[in-house]
């Protein structure tokens, strides 16, 4: 199951670089569902229109577990912009997610 949520890129303004995110989940486990929901919410809130999110079910692509060094799930990998970051958990801690993504957020 690969679910691609692509928000059409209108113009890359501001910091310019587009966020390239990959979320690894395991089927429909509670953590996975929560993680997807939480992440989508955060992205829509803070990165609207400036990101691509690829959601991958590791059960379906077991080979990826080794090549991507996956241990804990759910796992979010920020591919771009560099540096790469790895976030694990159900993304319920918004502060930490934003910190991990390198988004300066003002509340």
């Amino acid at each position: 199951m690969i679910e691609q949520v692509i928000t059409p890129d209108i113009h890359s303004d501001g910091d310019g670089q587009k966020y390239e995110l990959r979320l690894f989940v395991t089927g429909a486990s509670i953590n996975s569902i929560r993680a997807i929901a939480n992440l989508k919410h955060i992205c829509e809130t803070y990165l609207a229109g400036n990101y691509t999110l690829e959601i991958i079910d590791v059960y379906q692509q077991r080979m990826l577990a080794e090549s991507e060094q996956i241990i804990a799930l759910p796992l979010l990998i920020k591919k771009m912009p560099l540096p790469q970051r790895r976030l694990i958990g159900d993304m319920s801690d918004t502060e930490k997610v934003l910190k991990g993504l390198g988004i300066a957020h003002t509340s």
């Binding site: 690894f24 395991t26 486990s29 953590n31 929560r34 993680a35 939480n38 590791v58 059960y59 077991r62 080979m63 577990a65 080794e66 060094q69 996956i70 241990i71 804990a72 799930l73 759910p74 796992l75 979010l76 790469q84 970051r85 790895r86 976030l87 694990i88 958990g89 159900d90 993304m91 319920s92 801690d93 930490k96 997610v97 910190k99 991990g100």
Partner: protein
Amino acid sequence: MSLTSSQKSALPLPSFPKALTGIVGLDEITGGGLPKDRPTLICGGTGCGKTLFSIEFIVHGAMLYGEPGVFMSFEEKAEELVLNVASLGYDLNQLQQDKLIKLDHVRIERSEIEETGEYDLDGLFIRLGHAIDSIGAKRVVLDTIENLFSGLIDQGILRAELRRLFEWLKAKKVTTIITGEKGDGTLTRHGLEEYISDCVILLDHRVANQISTRLLRIVKYRGSMHGTNEYPFLIDQSGISVLPVTSLTLTHDVTSERISSGIPSLDKMLEGKGFFRGSSILVSGTAGTGKTSIAASFAHEACNRKERCIYFAFEESPQQIIRNMRSIGFDLQQHIDAGLLKFHASRPTLNGLEMHLVSIHKMIEEFDPQLVVLDPITNLITVGTVSEVKSMLIRLIDFLQSKQITVMFTALSLNTIVSEQTDEGVSSLVDAWLLVRDIESNGERNRGMYVMKSRGMKHSNQVREFVITDEGLHLVDVFLSPEGVLTGSAREAQQLQEVTGKALRDYAVNRKDREIERKRLVLESKIASLKEEFESVQDELNKAYVEEELRKDVLEKNREQLIKNRHNEQ
């Protein structure tokens, strides 16, 4: 240390399935290996051999028992592992290509990870599951799982997930080894793995008196009896070997075959036939009494019989021994060249006592000798206490006798009191005991030798003088004189004296003989003259008698004539 418990473990419960490790000795202690399809924890401090242990388990499984294995490393990269074990002759790359093993390096870096809420280790499960399924693995190693603890913050999740992992591995029907660093007061840092493992093996690396010994102990083994002792083990070119404290069953076969000691006169003291094959012989004596020479002679003789021999030298280098023995007529080099004799020289302090035992075992297993010489055992005392040395020697003797290998120990005794125990107390264990001692008198020192004991044969009770010559070793009868036992030049003087005395005696006897002869001659001549005298007297007497007879005849005739004449006239 109990010596019998290991014996019990040699009889595994028939119902309990086990997976052989292929590690020399370990399978004996555990009675057939690790619990099959269950997790086993191997814990210990740094550098105690955990990783090597688990690698051997995987490689042996793949190569010997047809059980492919997954090695999941949390520390070393796959390439590093391949390099590290290449020296043991394991080609992990080839094995990977043959789909017999799978290496997987799990990299976990705390600084790269942000925890953002609840998570689980499903990734690890999937990854491991995939690795297992891809090669049909029966064995799994997780080395070292606690790296997860340092990589991830939420300990509560981790502990729960590890429990789940162990259960999952059991359900997967794979035999698992988990390695763990030893913690403070607990077997592992997080005190978790030992409870959820079915078998716990503790590795230790202990240093006493600056000498390190590697030790292995089975802390727990659910559902199986096991040896509970600490077993020394060795890591060398061929990997790990554990030395089980071999059972003191005393059931080994014996032979009545006799072998020569290489000293004919010594053989003569032992019914003229020498020692029993497979017996243990102790040669003890003070410094410089020729113990090494006796041992070398024994080895030389064995090699002359085309038997193999290992000479463990703890004091001298092989070259030194070869040179020294050449001076008394033993060419040991030729036997080395012929592959019959093997020297193994090591300082006792090179490693611990148990290590020595393990390496001796290994060498013996490899070389399969008929004779083993240890020269001298007394030096081992520098790396252990008397009781440790004794226990080691008991095990060694036991091992050798079970293999029908004759063994000769030499022991340096520090005092000259004979009745005392030998230094290591092995005298009661050995079958034959030769004692070489100094005999000091007349301002010189000589060597005396006697057979203290020799089980199962008549042996001479005589003290012999032990002489080392250019042509080898000899035993000479000592001389007993009113002043006591004579040896060395005193013996030679005594020998000369006896020769002189004999000559004198011979001379005296000769003179007497001649006198008797002369007396006989004198008497004989006397007898002859008396005989002559008697004959002349006899002649004299005979003459008168004949004259009388003649006169009587003549008178008779005259009378007859007269009568006749008278008649004629009438």
